[in-house]
C-alpha cells in the first residue's frame, strides 16, 4: 500500500530511531542489537565445537577456550535469550495485542534499550580487551580472587543490563494491568500476554537478586571485602545461592515467553481455540512462582545439607507438572483441528518436541542420586540447550516468522523458511543429543581437552553444530531480503485472530485508528455458525 503512513515510514533518519518512543521501533532496535549478539555468541560456539573435534586441546589454548565458553554463555544468556522474545516480540506485540497505543511508559521503554546497550558495550569491551574466563556463572572465589581476566567489566555489563530487564518487566506489568482495550478481560487475553505477565514478574522480582550478587562480587574483587572468599572470612556457596536464586528463574524468563508464542502459533495453524485456556494461563503463573523455589537443585553436590537437597529436589519435580500440562494442551489443540504446515507451525512442532525432551531430561537432574553423577557433565549442557535453544530459540524463530508480515508488511519466502526450519531441527538434534550420552559417560563440561574415548560423540556434535549454524544463517539472509523484495503481506496473511491482526501491516504509529473493543473470547477460530455437532 504505497502512500499509507505507518510506523516505519512516518519519519526517517537516525535521530527518529534513536529518540523514538514507539514500542514498535524500540522492538526493532532490540531486534538489531540482539541479532548481533546472537551471531557473536554463535561464532564463539563454532570455535568451541571446532576445538572439541579432537581430544587434545590443539586449536586454541586452554585460557582462550575458557574465555570462549564464558563469553558464549554470558552473551547468549544475558544479551540474547533473556531479552529475545520479551524485548523484541513482547515489545512489539503487547500493546498491539491488548489494543493499546503504546506501552505505559514509552520513554522508560527507550531507556531500557539504552541501558541494555550500555551494559552490552561494557561486556563487549571486556571481550575486545581480552575476555573473561569465569564461566557465565561467575563462581566465587575463582571470580573474586583468582581470575586475572576482565571480570569487573563483564560484571558491570551484566549488572547494568539487569536494570533494562527490570524496566521492561515493570512496563509490561503496568501496561497489561491498566491499558487493555474495553472488553478485554483477563481471560480474553491472548496466552502470549499471560506468558509475558508471568515473565515480567520474574524479571522484577528475580533480577535485583543477581544484581546484588554481582555487586557483592565486585566489592570483594575490588576492595577485598570478605563476602564469598573463605580466605577473607566469606562463604563461597553463598554466592551460588544468590546467583541461582535469579538464574534458575531466568531460565523461565527465557522459556515462558516462548510458550506464549507457541500458544498463538498452534491455535492459528490448527484453526482452533486453545485447549484448556485457563490451565495454560495458570500454568505460566505456577511455573513463575515455583521457579523461585528450586534454585538449590544447582547445588546438590556443593556441600549443601542433604535435607536441603531433598526439599529442592521435591520442589523441582513440581515444576514438571505445569510444564507437562502445557505440552498436553498444545497436543490436544491439534486434535480435530485443520492443520497447516506453514513455517511458524513447523517451529512450533519443533519446539514441542525439543521442549519435551529438555523437560523430561530435567527430571534426571531433579532426581538426587542421578544428579550426583551427571551434575556438571555434558548431560547438563545437552539438557539446558534443549530448553534454551531447542525451546526458546525455536519459539523465537517461530514467532519472528509468524509476526514478520505484521512487523515489516512483507512475506518471507515460505520454501526457504520451511527448509531452514528443518535444517535447524536436524542440526540441533545432531549437535545436542550425543551430549546426553557423553554426559552419562562422565565427560565434564568446560573441558578444553578430553579423554580419547569421547571423541566420536564429540565429532557428531560438532558436525551437527555446523548444520545448525547454516540453519540459522539462511533465515538471516532471506528475512533481510524479504524486507525489500518480499510480497506484500496484507493485514492478516494467516487469517489469525487477535487484535494485532486487525490493524494494517505494518501498523500505524498509533497502532489503531480508534480504540478497539473486544467482544469475544481469544482464539475464536471456529465461530459458532460453522460449528459441527461433536459426535
Amino acid at each position: 500500500m504505497p502512500g499509507r503512513e505507518h510506523y516505519l515510514n512516518v519519519s526517517y533518519g537516525v535521530k527518529s530511531w534513536l529518540l523514538t518512543g514507539d514500542h514498535k521501533r524500540i522492538a526493532l532496535l532490540y531486534l538489531g542489537t540482539i541479532t548481533l549478539f546472537f551471531f557473536l555468541g554463535g561464532a564463539f560456539a563454532v570455535l568451541l565445537r571446532l576445538e572439541l573435534v579432537t581430544p587434545a586441546g590443539d586449536l586454541v589454548r586452554a585460557e582462550t577456550y575458557n574465555k570462549l565458553f564464558t563469553m558464549h554463555g554470558v552473551i547468549m544468556i544475558f544479551f540474547f535469550l533473556i531479552p529475545s522474545i520479551p524485548a523484541v516480540l513482547g515489545n512489539f506485540l503487547v500493546p498491539l495485542m491488548i489494543g493499546a497505543r503504546d506501552l505505559a511508559f514509552p520513554r522508560i521503554n527507550l531507556l531500557s534499550w539504552y541501558i541494555f546497550l550500555i551494559g552490552g558495550l561494557f561486556t563487549l569491551g571486556a571481550v575486545v580487551t581480552g575476555g573473561v574466563d569465569t564461566g557465565w556463572t561467575f563462581y566465587t572465589p575463582y571470580s573474586s580472587a583468582y581470575s586475572n581476566t576482565h571480570v569487573m567489566a563483564t560484571a558491570i555489563g551484566v549488572f547494568i543490563t539487569g536494570f533494562s530487564s527490570i524496566l521492561t518487566g515493570l512496563n509490561f506489568i503496568v501496561t497489561i494491568h491498566k491499558m487493555r482495550a474495553p472488553g478485554l478481560t483477563w481471560f480474553r487475553l491472548p496466552l502470549f500476554i499471560w506468558a509475558h505477565y508471568a515473565t515480567s514478574l520474574i524479571m522484577i522480582l528475580g533480577t535485583p537478586v543477581v544484581t546484588i550478587a554481582i555487586l557483592l562480587l565486585g566489592l570483594e574483587r575490588a576492595f577485598h571485602i570478605g563476602i564469598f572468599d573463605p580466605a577473607l572470612g566469606g562463604d563461597p556457596v553463598l554466592f551460588q545461592h544468590l546467583f541461582w536464586f535469579y538464574s534458575h528463574p531466568a531460565v523461565y524468563i527465557m522459556i515462558l515467553p516462548g510458550m506464549g508464542v507457541i500458544s498463538e502459533i498452534v491455535t492459528c495453524f490448527s484453526r482452533k481455540r486453545i485447549f484448556g485456556y485457563r490451565f495454560i494461563a495458570f500454568a505460566s503463573l505456577a511455573i513463575a512462582v515455583l521457579g523461585f523455589l528450586v534454585w538449590g537443585h544447582h547445588m546438590f553436590v556443593s556441600g549443601q545439607s542433604i535435607y536441603a537437597g531433598m526439599v529442592f529436589s521435591f520442589l523441582s519435580f513440581l515444576v514438571a507438572v505445569p510444564s507437562a500440562v502445557k505440552v498436553f494442551n498444545w497436543m490436544a489443540t491439534l486434535y480435530k483441528g485443520s492443520i497447516l504446515y506453514q513455517t511458524p507451525m513447523l517451529y512450533a512442532f519443533g519446539f514441542i518436541g525439543l521442549f519435551t525432551i529438555g523437560g523430561l531430561t530435567g527430571l534426571f537432574l531433579a532426581t538426587l542420586a542421578v544428579d550426583v553423577h551427571v551434575h556438571d557433565t555434558y548431560f547438563i549442557v545437552a539438557h539446558f540447550h534443549y530448553i534454551m535453544v531447542g525451546g526458546a530459540v525455536m519459539a523465537y524463530l517461530g514467532g519472528i516468522h509468524f509476526w514478520w508480515p505484521k512487523i515489516t508488511g512483507r512475506l518471507y519466502p515460505e520454501g526457504w523458511a520451511r527448509f531452514s526450519a528443518l535444517i535447524v531441527f536436524l542440526g540441533f538434534n545432531l549437535t545436542f543429543f550425543p551430549q546426553f550420552i557423553l554426559g552419562y559417560l562422565g565427560m565434564p563440561r568446560r573441558y578444553h581437552a578430553y579423554p580419547e574415548e569421547f571423541q566420536v560423540l564429540n565429532v557428531m556434535s560438532s558436525a551437527g553444530a555446523s548444520i545448525l549454524g547454516v540453519g540459522y544463517l539462511i533465515p538471516m539472509i532471506y528475512l533481510v531480503w524479504s524486507m525489500r523484495y518480499g510480497p506484500e503481506a496484507g493485514d492478516n496473511p494467516w487469517e489469525a485472530t487477535g487484535l494485532e491482526w486487525t490493524t494494517p501491516s505494518p501498523p500505524p504509529t498509533e497502532n489503531f485508528p480508534s480504540t478497539p473493543s473486544v467482544e469475544e473470547e481469544p482464539y475464536a477460530y471456529a465461530p459458532p455458525e460453522q460449528e459441527v455437532p461433536v459426535g
Binding site: G309, L368, V370, I437
Partner: protein, 311 residues
C-alpha cells in the same frame, strides 16, 4: 577410532548399580512420554491436515483430561523423587569401617594422602571391597571430585571439609575428573583411580616410599606448634584433653553439643572462638595462616589416633 566408542560408563562401585537402575527407569519414562507425544503430534498433524471443506471442530477443553494429565505426571515424578532421594540419603552416609583418605585440591592437581603415609598426586590407589571415605578440601578455588565409574561426585571447597565415600567392586583403572570449573587447566586436573585387590593394595602401600604415617607427622607438628602445652593430660586445665575426642559429642559453652569430626577439629584450630568447649576459658589463639592444608590433615590424623588407652 570406532574401536574405542563406549556408550555407557563402566560400573565399578557398590552404589553404581542402584544409580543405573534408577537411570534406566528415568530413561524408560522419558522414552514412553516422548514417544507418546511425538506420535500424537505426527498422527494429529497428518490426520487433521487442512482439507477443503473440512473445518476444525471447536473443542474448549476438558477438566477431566486436565486432571488426568496433571495427576499422572505428578504421581510419576513423586516416584522419581522418592526413589532418587532415598538412594541419595542411603548413599550419603559412609559405613563406619571406612578407610579415611585425605584429598587436597589445588589449581590444578589432586593431592591424596593415605593414613599410612603414602602420598599421591592425580592418582588414587584403593582396595576393592573396602569402603573408602574421602575427606576433601581445597587450597584455592572450588573443585569437584568426580569418579564416573563409581557414580560419585562432590564439590571440594576452600575453607571447609566435604566428604564422599565409595566402595570399589572391580579392580581396574578409572577416570578421576575435576568437575567444577576451576580456571586455566581445569581440563588437565584429571587423573586415575586404581582399584586393586586388597592384598595387592597392601603390597602397594608397603612398597611405596617409606614415609611416616600421617599421625606421626601430625604429632610432630602438634608438638612444634605448642599444642601440647594445653591439650595433653597433665597440662593443667587450660584446654580440653584430646585423647579419645574424635567422634565423641562435645558439650559447648552455649549449651549446644557438637560431634567432634574433622570439620569441627579444623574449625577449632583455625577459629577457636567459634565453638568453645563448656568449662574452658576461650583463650586459645588462632592458627590461621600457620598450618597448610596438608599439615591440618596430619594434625587431624594425629588427634584421631589418640584413642583411650593409647597413651
Amino acid at each position: 577410532m570406532w574401536t574405542n566408542f563406549p556408550l555407557f560408563p563402566e560400573r565399578a562401585s557398590t552404589i553404581a548399580g542402584g544409580v543405573d537402575a534408577l537411570y534406566f527407569f528415568l530413561v524408560a519414562v522419558a522414552l514412553f512420554f516422548s514417544t507418546l507425544i511425538f506420535a500424537a503430534i505426527f498422527y494429529f498433524a497428518i490426520k487433521y491436515r487442512r482439507r477443503p471443506g473440512v473445518a476444525a471442530r471447536p473443542i474448549e477443553g476438558s477438566l477431566a483430561l486436565e486432571l488426568v494429565w496433571s495427576l499422572i505426571p505428578l504421581g510419576i515424578v513423586m516416584v522419581m523423587f522418592t526413589w532418587g532421594a532415598g538412594l541419595y540419603f542411603r548413599n550419603s552416609a559412609p559405613p563406619p569401617d571406612a578407610i579415611d583418605i585425605y584429598v587436597v585440591g589445588k589449581q590444578w592437581m589432586w593431592k591424596l594422602q593415605h593414613p599410612e603415609g603414602a602420598r599421591e598426586i592425580n592418582e588414587l590407589h584403593v582396595p576393592v571391597g573396602r569402603p573408602v571415605r574421602l575427606i576433601m578440601t581445597s587450597q584455592d578455588v572450588i573443585h569437584s571430585f568426580y569418579i564416573p565409574a563409581f557414580r560419585i561426585k562432590n564439590d571440594v571447597l576452600p575453607g571447609r571439609y566435604s566428604t564422599v565415600w565409595f566402595e570399589a567392586t572391580r579392580a581396574g583403572e578409572y577416570h578421576l575428573f575435576c568437575a567444577e570449573y576451576c580456571g586455566n587447566q581445569h581440563s588437565g586436573m584429571r587423573g586415575r583411580v586404581v582399584a586393586m585387590e586388597p592384598a595387592r593394595y597392601e603390597e602397594w602401600l608397603a612398597g611405596g616410599p617409606a614415609g611416616e604415617s600421617l599421625a606421626v607427622a601430625g604429632e610432630r607438628l602438634f608438638r612444634r606448634l605448642g599444642c601440647t602445652n594445653c591439650h595433653l593430660p597433665g597440662a593443667g586445665s587450660r584446654g580440653p584433653v584430646l585423647v579419645g575426642l574424635y567422634g565423641k559429642p562435645v558439650p559447648l559453652e552455649d549449651g549446644k553439643i557438637v560431634r567432634a569430626e574433622e570439620a569441627y577439629i579444623r574449625e577449632s584450630i583455625l577459629n577457636p572462638r567459634a565453638k568453645v568447649v563448656a568449662g574452658y576459658p576461650a583463650i586459645m589463639p588462632t592458627f590461621q595462616g600457620q598450618i597448610s592444608e596438608e599439615g591440618m590433615v596430619e594434625i587431624i590424623a594425629y588427634i584421631k589416633s589418640l584413642r583411650r588407652g593409647s597413651e
